[in-house]
Symmetry: C2
Amino acid sequence: MFEDESETDDAFRALAEPRRRAILRLVATDELAAGEIAAAFDVTRTAISQHLTVLREAGLVSERRAGTRRMYRARPEGLDGLREFLDAMWSDALDVGRRLVEAEAAGDERTDVA
Amino acid sequence: MFEDESETDDAFRALAEPRRRAILRLVATDELAAGEIAAAFDVTRTAISQHLTVLREAGLVSERRAGTRRMYRARPEGLDGLREFLDAMWSDALDVGRRLVEAEAAGDERTDVA
DNA sequence: TGCTAACGTTAGCGTCAACTGACAAAAGGT
DNA sequence: ACCTTTTGTCAGTTGACGCTAACGTTAGCA
């Protein structure tokens, strides 16, 4: 059901960091160089570089080399795992509501747990 | 645009832990007691209790007391912040595609960056 | 009141993650 | 060849997180 469990896991861990989400929002609209991204924050370029590595290994950004610069851009497909998780949670929650209604209508069908 | 930034932040951090996502999937279909949830894992009840606290404070589960037991259930609304983030990322990425097409169609409008 | 069951809470420990500073690498210009 | 620009990488420190074990708390029952 889930395309790649380990990559989805990486994506969740990567997005747990607020700064990485901010970076992702930056490169969602424009393709930016590592230095330009770093200039937008109050931390060292080193920290940003490490964040970009995490985002790249999680499949959330793409890297393109242009001379000495490295251009980064958001990769929306990397969020597919999260979307599938959210959709699964939603449909399951809806199923619960439907099941409760059915159980009430059927009388007492013993909805046992695990 | 985002309903509550700090709660969304908590939700992201809470979901970063694979075990918490597993717990969430468990209580998405059924309302379970803390002990029943703990029985599904190989860690101590203490650890599960702490995970449940994190999930509750992030607004991802609801807690209901029934005698000495505490029943937990998934709270899909707690995922709204994540969904908004994902949707924003998607629409922004689509805007980029549209912009690139327009720029190409317009000829050479110098799409300079920052 | 005394006892038990079901949970939460605290203290302590080990591990991982984020940050900084110094160094190395790759590309381009003069 | 030399220097600058742009960036990644490595070592080390600090803070946060997940886990366990022991203790405290609440509800129900005799």
